[in-house]
Symmetry: C2
Subunit: 446 residues, 2 copies
Amino acid sequence: MGNKQILVAGILDTKGEEIKFLADRVRAAGGNAVILELSVGHEVGWADISLSEVVSRAGKKKEEIFALDRNSASDLIAAGAIKLVDELRTAGKVDGVIAYGGSMGASIATRIMQSLPIGVPKIMLTTMASGDVGPYVGTRDICMMYPIAEAGLNKVTREILNNAAGAVVGMASAPAMEGVAEKPLIGCMMFGVTTPCVLRASSIMEKAGYDVMINHAVGSGGRSMEELIRDGYITGMLDITTHEIADEMLGGVLGAGPDRMTAAGELGIPQVIAPGGLDLINFGPKNTVPERLLKETDQPGRNLYEHNPTVTCIGVSMEEGYMIGEHMAEKLNAARGPSVLCVPMQGWGACDLAEPDIELGWAGPGSGPVWTADVDNPKWSRRSVQYVKALQAKIDPNKDNLEVILVDKHMNDPVFADFMAELLLEMLNGTWTKGNKSDLPYVIPF
Amino acid sequence: MGNKQILVAGILDTKGEEIKFLADRVRAAGGNAVILELSVGHEVGWADISLSEVVSRAGKKKEEIFALDRNSASDLIAAGAIKLVDELRTAGKVDGVIAYGGSMGASIATRIMQSLPIGVPKIMLTTMASGDVGPYVGTRDICMMYPIAEAGLNKVTREILNNAAGAVVGMASAPAMEGVAEKPLIGCMMFGVTTPCVLRASSIMEKAGYDVMINHAVGSGGRSMEELIRDGYITGMLDITTHEIADEMLGGVLGAGPDRMTAAGELGIPQVIAPGGLDLINFGPKNTVPERLLKETDQPGRNLYEHNPTVTCIGVSMEEGYMIGEHMAEKLNAARGPSVLCVPMQGWGACDLAEPDIELGWAGPGSGPVWTADVDNPKWSRRSVQYVKALQAKIDPNKDNLEVILVDKHMNDPVFADFMAELLLEMLNGTWTKGNKSDLPYVIPF
């Protein structure tokens, strides 16, 4: 199979010596190093792939790039490099990417890495790697490595760069997995408040012959799930924990962008959905909760719950519950494949239940911190009733692939988990039809 | 040399299948996987190194650990594992460490990794890796890798774990560097406002036959420099940029802990120091600057400077300048090796100068944003004069290894960089004596 082709990328006009050394060590480790220039100031002339070639893919000449401010220049360099690296990869010439840089170099290089499929080795060496790397990593399998020094080749940095070179060649040479039976993959979203439900439902899927990918519904998890669906990894969705939608709409910190809960619908992939965690808006430490919300904690369901010193939750109000219902109805109406939204009327997670029940996730004392009983039917959540009113007003009743099922259970009741898993299995087996669960004793007419 | 010994660590009672798979892939890549148990809930019985053995190093039995709350348990597991891994490493049985975990697993495993020397391969797989990883990485060469999924083995996670296994074996097998002449290493601290000075002084050191390690003075940089000194990497310090001390004392965000500027003194390593950047306290976006400071921006030198949307600086007040002088004098008095503090009286960085001068780092218009002229000698910074008063009151005049030199230049004047580099070279050559620069025209009597 020959030597592995490793792209060694960086801003050569300021980090040239470091990149040259890194390329040498990639070669020493048995890789074929190809130096990719991302220079923002001037072209060095010794790169394997020059900046001129990179920016030609963005329709620019190097002089045009160097005349721009650094941020605009870096955007065009990244855009050109993404195209060029995609061409190389399609031609079988990219077995891995490694880069070294400061904040600017890391910003350009990780945009290239984020554009590459999962599994292509990606290592970013940067002093930014001992801080918030969220923007650099995004939702991709990027290795961030802290080289300690900002600049300079010496016995510390040489040792670290040598290790990194060994790592990228080692990743590119990792033996193929034989004897691992690949099963079709179910996507599933989890959060603390829905854990009992998710673990039970996913274990049913596993017993039925599927693998399950459980993402953490903290923003990056939802984003990467939507990407995995679009990249063709996912056969069916158990979208139990949709609370990222509340954070996105209401200013919480765990939003996953406006496109959450759209990919499966667009691609026609079977999906069973629940309002897991939509009773909560999530913030960091208590002093980061907006003043406006703190003033409303006397309103029904608008309670504050300090989960721990770094996570503070505020209950979703009744009006917001209605708004979320409208928003989700719109996304569901656009779905092209089998889609069922299951609404557990007795509460949407461990913070949202009428009485303490350790099995359902709330030890008490008293009701869950954001629970509010419905006036007409106090066994049901008032927020859930508002949400259902919005669904009744907005869901397209004429679509045979789309159903809303109200279930007279709590989210974490085992019956609810079993119900959702069974629905998804029927969809995958082709035996599900709209309304085929209506006779079950705990199903409430929508 | 035999197969590389790779510790594969994790909380086996919740991530057992993932860790087993990771160990299999380490073996497939040619490593010798040794599974290290960090379980917090119960012992699984199949680890190569059991939790009982781990916590025995902390003087505990597993039953005692499992009876504790998870945070206390994890502290003891980490403490035991650090001792045990150190024993193994001393016996030549650790060529690399890889771990997979959630936030708890990452917290325990990276504490072990942080205890290992630079150069020992360290890879942490965790969904926490697409966020603020500062606490996990600290000041060490740890690779943080985002496995996308919170849990579950499937075609996505298997591919990523297989890559990670290849990476750790590849790092452990990275060829030794031959033909690289190791030179003695000079430590140097840099920040935007002192860049011209640092680059010039360090290039002089390089020409004189030294390697230079330039760390970014943003907290982690200063901490890791102090560690590198204590670990024996550093031959001499060009501690030009000490501003982390201001942030530590005055509530800025780039503090490096109370031990900054102590290691070289304690170990008797030659050090040339300057007050680079001590004119500024650093914060994040403008809305994160404490109200108290915003109210004082009409005071001399207390100006606000928005460097960019994510970095806001406030000038150090005259009183604070005096306090910083006292603090540094105390640390200097304790130094055991040749130590010179050079004070550039015309300003301490690119934001602190009387008139625009692009070579010194400030394009104008007007004086630097935190500049305040001394009343008696308007060419000098008033803050610097206050600082010197504190030094005059506190510096021990009887120590032959310790000198304060006032220089009638700006920090970024090439003469100042040359002066400091020459001082350090004389110290390293053994030709420096206290007072031997007093006759230079730009040296002011202290």
